[in-house]
Amino acid sequence: MDAVAIRAEGLGKRYRIGERERYLALRDTLVRWARAPLRALRGRTHENGSIWALKDVSFEVAEGEAVGIIGRNGAGKTTLLKILARITKPTEGHAEVRGRVGSLLEVGTGFHPELTGRENVFLSGAILGMSRREIQRRFDEIVEFAGVERFIDTPLKRYSTGMQTRLAFAVAAHLEPDILLVDEVLAVGDIEFQRKCLGKMQEVSEKGGRTVLFVSHQMNQIRRLCRRVLWLEAGGIVETGPTPHVTAAYERAMTSGNDPRNEHREFAPNAKARFLGWEITEPRGPEPHILTELAPTTIKFRVWAQADLGPCHHGIVLYDTEGRRVWGWATDRLPVPAGASTFVYRFPMLPLRPGFYSWLVTLFDETGRLDSWHVVPDLLIATDDHQHPRDEWSGILNLPATFEVVAARRAASDAQSR
């Protein structure tokens, strides 16, 4: 194994409940003192009324490795980054960090609206850990990356939100620490700029050989950037391992069962026809919306019609998480009987890259649109991945190809013996 950049052992962080939400009033402390002077003197807070945001977390990150951290909100991801960045101290355990650490927990840390773009680049750069000379050296690059050349001497408060975000990112993207801690910051900004930033981060971690810890809810970003993933839940590590494996397990856990969104649509009395639900009936998976096998697949959409409908038009589209159309199809002159019926699709297989997808199904008659449903819940493809282990080298299709090397000589001898 390569040299270790981060080694965490038994990290734990306890917060008193409500500590982050509201500041202490001196009154409360005085009351505590009055009630229990001895305890207050010892500075101990009682165990109850506290919560472990992180508990017994141990892991190692090798130098130059890009590791993703996933988990639901409140799983402890940000707390972990904050401890590693030394922003806050752990309650217990310890961590060893080799190299200079840059943390990017927010976009535009240290920006001040009254200062000009130029001044803010220097200020934010310094706060994030760059030296003045370093900022000077990379200044033009930063401004160009942000695309704000013309406004660089205008106060930041006159910038549009998008421009501010871009400038903030540009500064952050040009940080050059040995270890970069990034929290969910790529969730803002337009898609185009997000891609640019992701590309920049990839460059930093691959070509720059830097260690990156990357928190995100977007699995496509995690897949693209990280080889290994740490899955946190309720302050502890659920699983750690290769990206495709852990992200798939995480996604499965997220869809199974308690999806708060309504799976079954109600029938609307004034609608002529309506889609009511959908499921995978073959192959049978753990859940009706999760596909686990590359095998003949049957998908059913339940429809309810008020009356017999004449020739209808029905369309269907499958989108990936980035909103790209993966497959689209439609049929005309479709009779739809009154009452309940089912639209049945049979696919030889759905050889798609594991991840979330969503259906759009539509139904029209001569009078116009009857229903257009962005299907809930999403389709989760959780089949084995038959692709390149690194996400940027894999594609949309997940084809279980076989491969062999056939020597020409042996082929010839086979032919002779025949």
Partner: protein, 277 residues
């Protein structure tokens, strides 16, 4: 990343109570420069008078004091013309008051960066104290214009003036350490500080002369370091009034206690500041 942090560091729950991490301050020194620069830059943005405020405030107060405490109340000024007497007292006082306020508010004001990035938090009150120095410099210009008008020629004693400025700065920093740390924990501080500064003004010989304080109590008066500073300012500029003595020694000692205690307390709070502020 040019901050030469040690290549390996260990993150632990606690650090020794006496360790205030001086070497770390040195590695981050450039950030201190930027924080001060920023404070100065934004102080008078979008104002008409701009840095003129640094002069206007003590000037207007001087005019009021001269009218009420001088012409009407006829307080003793040791033969120094009232305008010079008051302005020389107001200079260090205004500096002290504004830097104490800046230092106290520094932690709450920079809450965003405290919770998002690591750096020695000690720089926040320190930058507040350093940033106000510029105002003091600008306001001093008027003083040096005022002295010849009243025919006052400062002697060699003027060379001691920076020492009194330093004492005011360290006092503001020491008290600011306590208050900024407390402010991060208890917002009550924010409301208490303006009041505290007002009281402190009356406890310092700004609007009156130390000669009003009974002789046997002068040393105790020195427990208020600003008494020594204000008195010292007048002495260095006009040569009148009490020179450095026992009271000043008491002041220096008092400040040392406040600063050392403040450093230790601030460091203790710093560990959880990001969770509490």
């Amino acid at each position: 990343m040019a901050y030469l942090q040690p290549p390996v560091w260990i993150i632990r729950p606690q650090r020794a109570w006496w360790d205030i991490g001086l070497s770390e301050l040195w590695t981050y020194r450039e950030l201190l420069y930027f924080l001060v620069w920023r404070d100065i830059k934004i102080r008078y943005k979008q104002t008409v008078v701009g840095a003129g405020w640094a002069v206007l405030q003590p000037l207007a107060t001087m005019a009021l004091f001269t009218l009420f405490f001088g012409r009407l109340a006829r307080l003793p000024s040791e033969g120094v013309p009232y305008p010079v007497f008051f302005y020389a007292g107001l200079l260090p006082w205004t500096y002290f008051a504004s830097s104490l306020a800046a230092a106290t508010n520094s932690t709450v004001e920079h809450e965003r960066i405290i919770t998002k990035v690591y750096f020695p938090r000690l720089f926040l009150p320190l930058a507040g104290v350093l940033g106000s120095l510029l105002d003091l410099g600008i306001a001093s210009l008027l003083l040096f214009a005022l002295l010849p008008v009243y025919g006052i020629v400062p002697g060699v004693r003027l060379a001691t003036l920076p020492l009194f400025v330093a004492l005011a700065m360290v006092t503001a920093f020491g008290v600011g350490l306590w208050l900024s740390a407390l402010n991060a924990l208890y917002r009550d501080v924010r409301y208490a500080v303006p009041f505290l500064i007002q009281l402190w003004l009356f406890a310092s010989p700004v609007a009156y002369s130390t000669s009003l304080v009974p002789e046997p109590w002068r040393w105790a008066y020195g427990l208020n370091p600003m008494a020594g500073v204000v008195e010292g300012f007048r002495w260095a500029l006009t040569g009148r009034g009490a020179g450095p003595g026992v009271a000043l020694a008491v002041s220096v000692l008092a400040v040392l206690v406040v600063v050392v205690g403040g450093l230790l307390y601030f460091r203790k709070v710093e560990a959880t500041m990001a969770d509490m502020v």
